[in-house]
Symmetry: C2
Subunit: 411 residues, 2 copies
């Protein structure tokens, strides 16, 4: 294994692939009977050897049992991970001591099936809150899934972690350096209860680069901040959000501290499309909305305004109806609790400026409406403070289907 830093200018390109794209990773997704529909509901992602592990967990104070268990095991292992086990169809959240035992049993079953150290297992669950997860069913499923692991199993794993997601989310990137080539792969799932405070619903990122746990954690946290933490479907932060990263070194390329930027860029190339995929597959979503805020007193203020816009039901319904209602953008920016100057503020929809210098340009509304009929929409608000603060977030429109999905979720 090459332990020197990268030489020359590495190139990072997105490639087709999933969580099992990096060397030395296998994945599986099976139906074990948690979902009554018979759909895939159990995923395993395994490295051939123990890997460095990093994670970002939900900040929700009502933490689900698997979050509690994964945190504890990661601490015990000192940042090592070998297997990730995830079920869908049941969140194992608010399930008391019995739920905690089930999450422990899941992790132990995965460790035993793959002869891994029990502290080297990360576990996650997604689905309905407050319903008991059948321990026997899920543990039998884990034994079965462990025999199905393969280097082409990523897409099945991506499907097996879906709940209301309309499509699976997977991405991969390849980095070519003077010292060799390595890959990053990942899967993620949405699609309701999405407004990550520190992480999104569930994502697993793998890489065959060799990375020390501390460096992997630092890079993961940085990337999550600009990707999974920069999306919102409905302003909700769930009890189960986790992003896991495993780095097993199988490519022979090792990244050290001075390669931080390359690692971040490689992770970003996987996390950004996964995050945008979560938004595109948001409950009832028909459009991905990119929100750019400039002219903030600080980046934090710009982010605060962008988040308020991303969560505004009036903005999201206007986008849904292709209504270039810039007044709602001004109103939200004005109530976002940040510095804002109405006379110097500017609002742009696509590349059509609709408000500037304190006055509207409604004659341009038809062009803006045209832009809003597309599947990818850009909203730009300059807060008019003259400051350099800027931020970007992604959200989706709010449709009647969001209401339908969530009014009938358990019925």
């Amino acid at each position: 294994m090459n332990v020197t830093s990268l030489n020359g200018e590495p190139t990072v390109v997105q490639v087709a692939g999933s969580v099992s794209a990096p060397a030395g990773f296998r994945a599986a997704g099976i139906a074990c009977g948690i979902k009554k529909t018979g759909n895939l509901d159990l995923a395993l992602i395994a490295s051939d050897t123990p890997a460095a592990a990093a994670a970002v967990f939900t900040l929700n104070k009502a933490q689900a049992a698997p979050v509690v268990v994964s945190k504890a095991r990661l601490k015990t292992s000192g940042g090592r991970g070998h297997v990730v086990v995830i079920n869908s169809g049941c969140a194992n959240a608010c399930t008391g001591p019995a739920g905690l035992k089930t999450a422990e049993a899941m992790a132990d079953a995965a460790a035993d099936a793959l002869r891994a150290d029990r502290s080297h297992v990360l576990v996650a669950s997604t689905g309905v809150i407050g319903v008991a997860l059948d321990r026997d069913v899920v543990c039998a499923g884990i034994a079965k899934a462990s025999t199905a692991l393969s280097s082409s199993g990523g897409p099945d794993a991506a499907r097996a972690i879906m709940t209301t997601d309309p499509f699976p989310k997977e991405a991969a990137a390849e980095v070519t350096t003077a010292s060799g080539r390595f890959r990053v792969g990942g899967i993620a799932k949405g699609s309701g209860m999405i407004e990550p405070l520190m992480a999104t619903m569930l994502a697993v990122i793998t890489t065959d680069a060799g990375v020390a746990p501390a460096l992997l954690q630092r890079a993961l946290s940085a990337v999550v901040n600009d990707t999974f933490n920069a999306i919102s479907v409905d302003g909700e932060c769930s009890t189960n959000d986790c992003v896991f990263a495993l780095a097993n070194g199988a490519s022979g390329v090792t990244l050290v501290d001075r390669d931080f930027d390359v690692l971040v860029e490689a992770l970003r190339r996987v996390c950004e499309p996964l995050a945008i995929g979560i938004v595109r597959g948001g409950e009832g979503a028909t459009k991905v909305v990119t929100i750019e805020v400039t002219g903030g007193a600080s980046n934090d203020e710009a982010k605060k305004a962008a988040r308020a816009i991303a969560n505004s039901p009036l903005v999201k319904t206007a986008v849904h109806g292709a209504d270039p209602n810039w007044g709602r953008l001004v109103a939200v920016a004005g109530r976002a609790g940040v510095e804002f100057d109405l006379e110097r503020a500017r609002v742009r929809i696509g590349d059509v400026e609709l408000f500037a210098g304190g006055r509207p340009f409604d004659e341009r509304a038809p062009q803006a409406s045209e832009h809003l009929t597309g599947k990818d929409v850009l909203l730009h608000v300059d807060l008019g403070t003259g400051g350099a603060g800027r931020a970007r977030m992604w959200t989706c429109d709010l449709s009647a289907d969001y209401v339908k999905i969530n009014a009938e979720y358990r019925t």
Copy 2:
């Protein structure tokens, strides 16, 4: 006029009536041509004599022209008010210097028509943001409305300030004291862009008690905090929110500082039904949801949690679907940024406890679902901190109609 304080125990009862119920107030609502539908769109509320005036305005930094004008006039008059003029169908917000001139012209026209001091006029507008309000049309309307003023005109005024409201909101209360009897009346309008930070969309409260401006302001602010500031339809705070109060003393009863509690109770009896009316008439609403939060580390923390629940699209859609999804209530409380103890938290829907001691009672779900099918729903979350902090808020469910109304608002 009796200038002593009240004696004995005053009684406060709600009575039928509107903003013109108190003695010495007249109101009118006419159609002057701002709304293309021909519906009522201009309201005047006038005291027979100059009255004490108080107001609470939106904290939105994108303040509409009428908000700017009303603030300035109230300051100039030192808390005196004679006439309130309100148009619907156009918010006169984000309309630049021309919009400001129009708001000034509206106020001047109302003063001139009623021979009032120009500084004694309060002006408000509601409707679409960023569209110019036709100065000639509205000023001609004001002249016409001034001839229609009557003591039975309150209901017309309540109709004339409506936008997407499905019904008018009006309320009145009568206070009987040893020193005499006085009344409080009011009208309000919603129904989207409702999450008051300091005030709600528009409300006008009148009383024929004699009250000094400072006392009126203090009582109004206190009552608004627990009524209009305790409701949310969609978490939006508009550019135009105002609550005005006028006290003309025509009843012969005068309230002084030590009558603060009576004044607050009398105002509350009018403001609370108006606030709940705004929620009941919220865009697409089919239910009024009362949210009670207890066991908070402080009242502020309880209010923060209640507000997060009131604005949660997942909670609001579950209520819409009569789904007793207590897990969503736990998830929101956990992400609300307040102290929260999952093991000691409790969730109640109606009087059915569904979560306590860290475990669910799903066998009770059918009773809870039954409660949720009603038009008035109670959600109670105890945050489990053992603290005495408590708060109450009112919100509505989120229906597909909310999306429909707001996706098609201007089309």
